[in-house]
Amino acid sequence: MEQKNNQPVKYDLNFAREIYSLENGSYIKQCMQCGMCAISCATREIMDYSPRRLFNLIKLGKKDEVLEANTMWQCTSCCTCKARCPRGIPIIDVMHDLKKYAIQNGYSDDPRAAFYKAFWAEVASRGKVFEGGVTARYYLIRGLDELKKAFAMKDVGLNMLRHKRMPLLPPKKVKGLGNLKKIIRKAQELERKEAGR
């Protein structure tokens, strides 16, 4: 971690407590700093901090560093770290919590934050995911610049189209969508209640 002006980093437990209170946050406390996760990660080479270091930053109380880090966004939920963690920390689930926390707290510059939001909007509106829909929503959030970048990938998309891999029409909505929405609303309400517990 960068040290500003060689000043000692000051521990601050308040941020840590907030993170520890997330759905899977309390598991982070069990981290014994072995570093297994750092190696297990499929995207470790491009992560700002390994999960171990991220957990350490949380312990130190470095809120901005933690929430601005790309660590949780690089997580592909491949489960390797979770399967290996000697302390049984469900790291991918912790990463889900951190993504959610980052989005809620306005740390959503990472393109994946947009993708996640797009994905959820799609699920929430039909009960199923339609790639075309997710993609459209994603570019809507990210703006035109991103679309230009995407243009470079157009051959991929075209290839998919050619092999019937990208239907242009969305699938049928879930019939019980109303009930599903009710369930989701209730779940979110209960989850908020639990967190405040």
Partner: protein, 293 residues
């Protein structure tokens, strides 16, 4: 044997070949799949990042709640869906507090789940319920000489580690390929991540992961890659050309669902094999096994 079947969203879109071949192979092996009526998206590994694990798991549980009255094992053909369903199911079985809370939410939609079902992957059902012997019986065109890289991917074996295979160096799908007469090649990357949903928002990750996987498969001399996972299949298939462009490589390894290769070996009709969905053409590699355009 009857099963409740959860196809998942991809089977209606990018992975129709998966659905077609699973249904055909299941039929051939006397595994009766009944689609869960009006199933909804499991939320994959993405929804939790927006709404949290609890909401995502409750959403997933709706499917289990619908399936529960039948009492059949729930079979899943997608790794990501399997992760969601299996983990949710495990929580219902092990965490009473969660179960009560989740049922409170489900009740809002008039549903309830007791946690009585087993959630299984189609790959595991083929191996454990149908068995290698029955598979061998059904083989009409042994895939003798075909070198296959069995790309199990990540979530298949790690959703519930050691459930039916080693979470990092799985061997069961290789054995299945051997049962078809093919040769499973040494493939160290067989359970590494393909980059997953970063295909849209961080393509670099997918390209980079795919490169390593192709290198590993090619290193073992693989002619085709098979996988049980729609996300893996899509990333490796759709991005292969892109990998070649960006890295100056010339990989030309068709990527099939393992069920497609089973359909070939069982000599099932083209609609079951669904090879026309492949972006990297498999026809040359499989020419010797009765496959033509």
């Amino acid at each position: 044997m009857k099963y409740s079947f959860y196809p998942g969203c991809s089977m209606e879109a990018t992975a129709q070949a998966n659905l077609k071949s699973i249904e055909a192979v299941a039929g051939a092996l006397d595994l009766h799949l009944e689609e869960i009526p009006d199933w909804n998206c499991c939320g994959a590994t993405v929804a939790s990042g927006v709404v949290g694990d609890f909401t995502q798991q409750v959403m997933t549980a709706r499917n289990l709640a619908i399936a529960e009255p039948k009492g059949y094992d729930v079979v899943v053909g997608c790794s990501s869906c399997y992760l969601s369903l299996a983990v949710t199911n495990k929580r219902f079985k092990e965490d009473e507090h969660f179960k009560a809370l989740a049922n409170e939410a489900l009740a809002a939609g008039g549903l309830k789940y007791d946690g009585s079902l087993r959630v299984r992957q189609f790959l595991e059902v083929v191996i454990n319920d149908a068995g290698f012997d029955r598979v061998k019986e059904k083989v009409k065109r042994p895939l003798t000489g075909l070198k296959v890289a069995g790309y199990v991917g990540c979530q298949t074996v790690r959703a519930i580690p050691y459930e039916f295979d080693d979470p990092e160096y799985p061997v069961q799908m290789d054995k299945l390929m051997e049962a078809l007469g093919a040769t499973a090649v040494d493939f160290p990357m067989k359970a590494r991540c393909c980059g997953s949903s970063n295909a849209i928002a961080a393509t670099d990750i997918v390209v980079d992961s795919a490169l390593k996987i192709f290198q590993s498969a090619a290193g073992g001399g693989a002619q085709v890659i098979v996988t049980p996972c729609p996300m893996c299949q899509l990333n490796l298939d759709a991005y292969q050309q892109r990998v070649n462009q960006l890295h100056g490589t010339n990989f030309n390894i068709p990527v099939l669902f393992f069920t497609q290769l089973m359909a070939v070996a069982f000599d099932l009709p083209e609609d079951a094999r669904a090879l026309n969905y492949c972006i990297v053409s498999p026809y040359e590699a499989l020419a010797a096994y009765g496959v033509g355009k």
